[in-house]
Structures are given as C-alpha cells and as structure tokens.
C-alpha cells in the first residue's frame, strides 16, 4: 500500500515537472498554428489539427522571407564553433591536466575569468574590434559568420576546458605512460586513449557549446547586420511598433528548436554519463 502510494506521489511529481517543461513548447506550437486574428482574445490551449494550421506563419518567414538563410547561418556558426571549441579544449585541457606548467592553476583560473563578466560588458569593445580594428580595406569581421565562430570561442572555450578538466583528470596517467613506452606520442595518447575514454564528456562539451552558440542573442544582434544574422536575432524582428507577429515568431521559434532537438537526441545517451564522468574521482 505504502509502496503504491510512493509510486503515485512520484508519478504525480514527475507529471507536474514534465508539464512545466512541456507546456511552453506546446503553447509555442499552438500559437504558431494560429492566424493573427485568432491569437487575440481568450487563450485557447486546444490543438490545431493539420488542415487548420495557418501555414503562412511558416511559409512567409522561411519561403518568402530570409529566415531559411538565418537558420543556415545559425547551423554553420553553431556547428563550426562547437567543433573548433571541442578540438581546442581537448588540446588545452590535456596540457593543463597532464603537464606541470608554470602557474598552471593560475592559467586555468585566468581562462575561467572570461566567463565571469556578463557578455554585455564586452559589447562595445567587441563592436569596435570587429568593425574598426580587425579591418583590412573593406573587409572586417563585422557581420561575418567567421567573426561569430571565433567570438563564441572566447566564451565557450573556458567552459569547455572547465568541463573537460575533471574528466581528463579522471583518466589514469598510467595509460599515457603505457602508450609512450609502446612508442606512441602525445597525439597517439589523445586520439587512442583520451578521446575514446572521455567520449561521453567530449560529446556533452560539444553539445553544450553548440547550444550556447545556437541560442546566443546579444552579441549576434550587435555584431551582425544582414549577411550573418542568426535565428535568435531574427526572432526580435517580429516585435515592431505596428504589432508583434506572434504567430510567425512562434513558428520560427519552433523550427529553430528542431535542429537542437535532433542534435540532442543523437547524443542524449552520453549526456548523463558525460556530466558525471570523473565525478567520483577520490
């Protein structure tokens, strides 16, 4: 009886938690299916069936508008950034984890300081760097995908190093030594030992870097104009003085979630193990 009661309470708690998570997404989808005139008045939570979906919310931004381009820009920026950050973080973390560098603790701490100030504090200096300092003739980093890819490294790399440090520290050094004795070099260690051993952690590092880059708004809004605009900055365009296009905004928001959902579903089995890998190292 008590066991059943416990199960029931557990079920209710998890149901409530799931609802809290799912309702905003469901609501966003419902809004994306409604015409502008249906959206005002009493909120209506009922689902819209396929034949009643107001497709213009999807077609106008993506087919007639520029949102397909924004989506593509987001995919390029987030994916390239995640790859670059992961590669650099593996190299840097291995060095920090294995070698007694002079003031290595300070280097680690210094790296982390990049995450301490809010990104808004960097906005104006970055704007000047991108548009004036890093400029040759008419070419600058402003409004380029390359600019965003490099910029997000500044914020994602410290996080990735911090995440991987504990994981790499948890891999026995004896394995490294065995490879060296067998005639291998440091690249052999990284590719044959570290990466396979830390695969779940590396996957979660790449995933989180990707998500941070995918969702970032503030820097992208300031440092892009027409050629490298990403999906989050495009969402802001729906809020205007003549009204907010809620339906299209929800549709674009919903579509922009899909790549992230696909990406997460591909690596989800690594997420828990990745986050806890090395956590029990005593």
């Amino acid at each position: 009886m008590i066991k059943n009661l416990k199960k029931l309470v557990k079920f209710i708690i998890w149901s409530i938690l799931s609802m809290i998570t799912i309702i905003p997404i469901y609501w966003m989808f419902v809004v994306s299916t409604r015409s502008p005139v249906e959206l005002f008045g009493k909120p209506d939570f009922s689902p819209t069936f396929f034949e009643k979906i107001y497709w213009k919310n999807f077609t106008k931004p993506f087919v007639d508008g520029v949102y397909a381009e924004y989506l593509w820009n987001s995919i390029i920026v987030a994916s390239c950034n995640a790859i670059l950050v992961t590669i650099l973080a593996i190299m840097a973390t291995y060095a920090l984890s294995r070698w007694k560098l002079a003031a290595s603790e300070n280097i680690f701490f210094w790296t982390m300081t990049n995450r301490m100030a809010p990104p808004a504090a960097f906005l104006l200096p970055l704007f000047l760097l991108f548009s004036i300092v890093f400029r040759y003739d008419d070419v600058s980093l402003f409004d380029t995908k390359l600019g965003l890819i490099l910029l997000y490294c500044v914020f994602n790399l410290p996080f990735a190093i911090w995440l991987l440090k504990g994981i790499f520290d948890g891999i026995p050094r004896e394995l490294d030594e065995a490879v060296l004795i067998d005639g291998g070099n440091y690249f052999t260690i990284i590719f044959r030992i570290i990466i396979p051993q830390a695969a779940p952690g590396i996957a979660i590092t790449a995933l989180l870097s990707w998500i941070f880059a995918w969702n970032e708004y503030l820097l992208a809004a300031t440092l892009t104009s027409v050629y490298a605009r990403t999906i989050p900055t495009g969402l802001a365009e729906f809020v205007t003085t003549t009204g907010t296009n809620w339906g299209a905004m929800a549709a674009v928001g919903f579509v922009s979630m899909l790549p992230a959902l696909v990406f997460i579903s591909l690596v989800q089995r690594h997420i828990v193990s990745g986050l806890t890998f090395g956590a029990v190292k005593g």
Partner: protein
C-alpha cells in the same frame, strides 16, 4: 475621332518619354556606382518591408547599385545606428531617423546635409524628385536654413478609433441614453470619452462580450506609456511640448513650466482613471499591443497610432473588426481645437520617420541617388497601400489610395485634411534623457503607487534638475 486618337497617342508618347527619360537618368547617374552595395537599417514595419522587398530590388535593376536593408526591432535599430555613427565605423549608408530623434542627431552632427550634397553635385539631382512634393512632414527633417537631412519614408497621425458596430447598436444607444441622459456618440469631449468607456465596459460584460470601454497604452515599464501621456493626452488637454517651457527649459510651474500644472494633472488623472475601463493587458500595452487589442475587438474606442489604423480597418487576417472601424479626431479640451487651428497648439501626435545618410557612410553619393529614388512620386501609391503611410501630397488622390481610404473610414482623408492640427515631438536634443527622467513617475502613477499629482510634481522636479545638469537651464 482622328483628333482624339492623336491626342491619346501624343499623351502616351509623352508619358513614355518621361518615364524612359527617368529610367535613363537613373541608369546613367547610377553608372559610376555600379556594383556598390548600400547598407541600411530600419524597423521591421510594413513600410520598411516594402522598401526592402520591392523598391530596393527595382533600384538595383535600374542602376546596378545593390541595397541591403536590415529590418530589425525598434530598439536594435537605434542601438545599431547610433553605435555606427558614434564610432564612425561606416557600416550603414542610410539609417532610419524617427521624427523625435532627429534633433539629437543634428545636435551631434551625425547626418549629411542632403540639400547641400545635391547642390554640390547636380549630376546626382533626379529630374523627377522635388522636396516640395512632400507633405509638410518633411519640415521635421530640415535645419533652420531649410536644408533637408532626411527623406521621409513614413508618416502617420495618432487618431481616435471607435467601434462603429457598438456605437450604432440600438440596444446600446437606448441603454446609454437612459443612463447618461444624452446620445451615444464617438467622443468629442473627455467627459463623453469617460462615459463611453464606463458604459461599454459594463455593456460588454452584460452581453458576455470579451470587450472593454477603452484601450490605454499604459505599460508600467516601457516608454510607450510616457509617450502616450506627453504626446497624445497632454496636447489634447492643452499642455504642449511635454509641459516644458521652451524659453528656459524648465518644467515645474514654479519655474515657468506646465508639467505639474492644473491641466497636466487633470490629464493624468483622466488617463489613469481610464484603466478601470480598459482590458487587463492595458498595463502591459505599448503602441503595438494597443493596436492588437483594438484589432482583436477588445475595446470600444481608443487612441491608436495611424500606422495601425489602415490594417485594423482592412486586414481580415489580422483584425476582427474589419468593416466596423470608425476613424475620427481625438477628443479635446475646450479651446484646444481653436489653438491648434491657429497654429498655437496641437491636438495630438504626428509620427513618422525618414531615411538619412550618416556622416560615416562610405557611399554618400550613391546613397543620395537611392534616397531620391524613394522620394519619387511614382513609387508612393503602392508604398502607401502596403504600409498605411503617406509622405507625398499627390499620393492622397491616387486612385489606388482612394480605394483603400474608402475601406479605412477615410483615415487618409482625415490625415490630409487635419494633419496640420497634429505635431511631432518638440525639437529637444535632450529628447531621450528628458523622457527617461519622466518615465518612472508615470509608471508609478499607472501602477497606483503615486497619485497623479504626486507623480507630476516629482517628474517636474526631476526634469528641472536634469535640465540644469545638462546645462540647458541655470
């Protein structure tokens, strides 16, 4: 018959020659700049979208000059344009200038003098563009000498919208007369407005309708509410220029201003009192939500920016009240209409914007061509229909515009005939700072944390202090 044929032939030939001549001008004038890309920034509104999707493409076909227009949110638009001009980065070749910010831009020497630019380079002067063709709204973009710094791309007046179906409802009319002792009509006085608001709030509730008596642009954390008070409610009560004395830039009564004067306090009391008869979203409503509330049929009347009037009245996809929208002049206090008619006051807000060329632009000459292209009579009618905006005198009589006007309860006609009664923001270079000083007190009055009297006394003191800090006053 032969005469008629010849006359038609001659007219067609002449028109073709003129059109061809204009095409020839754009082609030859654009030749030196072929391949150049002009970059601009504007708000993502229907007039901006029309520029981006239609006019920019036509201009490129004709001249070979590419135009990339970034359409973004209102705050981002300002943030990016100002950063660009302050840092002299030259990212943008043209920027949107709202009527109320031009004085700050001119004060900081951000903009290129277009009149001087064209006079210095007659080759760039388009034969079919004349700044005199614009409505008087272009005057807001001129300096003291009459030189133009911005080519208007949108202009609206803030009007009084009401629900014709509700006001003409026989049951409502009878009930109103029984309760108030006079006939139900769109408001001409504030007393009438309040009675209408109170009446329809109860009437809608009794009828089980999801509607209230009035909209209020009463966001408690957004400057839109301060703007509604200063630019819409105040002038209709006879308080002009935000209640700031233009001679000594002081706001409090004791220093010669009117911000905390009797009329201003009456205006704020009236306006905050309307919240009792407004839909629940009123305290979160900026300019866009007010339009959306009205379009959704949630209010019987309200002050609505004219850029929304046309779509609310005509666009069935976005509005539930198509066919039932009445457009009229807003109510005014006694004597205000006469003051406005004589040029000594105004009854509401004339809103809009223009495209100007930042000094940091790297393609000033090509941009002058582009802005003139936007200033042609020939492109105005379709633009007016797409964006509900009119900047040229001739646009009002275009048959396409006349047809839309008929569906929008003669909003365009009202704008043409009574536009002179409205005014833009006063020429304050301290516009942003001044408004920000007033904001918190208006927000508190709306939230009920301060009485209207307390709010305006404190706001006036804050403005006086700010003017001293900014050295506009001693």
């Amino acid at each position: 018959m032969k005469k008629l044929f010849l006359s038609v032939f001659a007219s067609v030939t002449a028109l073709t020659a003129v059109a061809g001549g204009h095409d020839a001008f754009w082609k030859s004038a654009g030749q030196p700049y072929k391949g150049v890309t002009l970059q601009g920034v504007t708000e993502n509104t229907p007039p901006g979208q029309f520029v981006s999707e239609v006019l920019a493409k036509d201009f490129e076909k004709l001249t070979g000059i590419k135009v990339r227009l970034e359409t973004t949110s209102w705050d981002q638009m300002y943030d990016k344009a100002i950063k660009d001009m302050e840092a002299n980065t030259g990212i943008y070749d043209f920027v949107y200038i709202e009527q109320d910010i031009i004085y700050s831009y001119l004060d900081r020497d951000f903009l290129v003098n277009i009149s001087e630019g064209l006079a210095a380079n007659p080759k760039l002067q388009a034969p079919n563009v004349d700044f005199d063709d614009f409505t008087t709204f272009i005057n807001y973009f001129k300096n003291g000498k009459g030189d133009v710094f911005g080519v208007p791309m949108e202009a609206f007046i803030k009007v009084y919208l009401y629900r014709k179906d509700l006001f003409e409802n026989a049951e409502a009319r009878a009930a109103f007369r029984a309760r108030y002792g006079y006939g139900l009509e769109p408001a001409k006085t504030f007393g009438q407005y309040r009675d209408n608001a109170e009446f329809f709030t109860k009437f809608c509730a009794d009828q089980g309708m999801d509607c209230w008596g009035t909209t209020v642009q009463g966001h408690t954390g957004h400057p839109a509410s301060t703007y509604e008070l200063l630019e819409t409610i105040f002038p209709s009560f006879g308080v002009y220029n935000w209640g700031i004395n233009m001679d000594n830039y002081q706001a409090s009564v004791e220093n010669g201003g009117q911000l905390n004067g009797g009329r201003a306090k009456a205006a704020l009391r009236f306006w905050t009192g309307l919240l009792d008869f407004a839909p629940p979203e009123a305290l979160q409503s900026t300019w866009s939500e007010v339009g959306a509330s009205f379009a959704a049929g949630r209010a019987a009347q309200g002050w609505v920016y004219g850029e929304n009037a046309a779509w609310i009245a005509t666009d069935e996809e976005r509005s539930r009240v198509v066919g039932n929208v009445g457009v009229a002049l807003p109510p005014t206090a006694e004597g205000v209409m006469m003051q406005a008619a004589s040029g000594n006051g105004y009854i509401g807000y004339f809103d809009g914007g223009a495209f100007g060329i930042p000094h940091s632009s790297k393609n000033k000459e090509a941009t002058m061509l582009w802005l003139q292209y936007l200033g042609q009579n020939e492109v105005q009618a379709d633009w007016a229909i797409a964006g509900g905006r009119i900047t040229h005198k001739a646009t009002y009589s275009d048959p396409k515009v006349v047809a839309v006007d008929a569906k929008a309860d003669a909003y365009f006609t009202l704008m043409r005939d009574t536009g002179y009664l409205f005014a833009g923001a006063p020429p304050y270079p301290f516009h942003g700072a001044g408004r920000a000083a007033i904001d918190p007190f208006i927000f508190k009055a709306l939230a009920g944390e301060l009485t209207p009297e307390e709010a305006l006394d404190q706001a006036a003191a804050a403005v006086d202090e700010l003017m001293k800090e900014l050295e506009y006053a001693e």
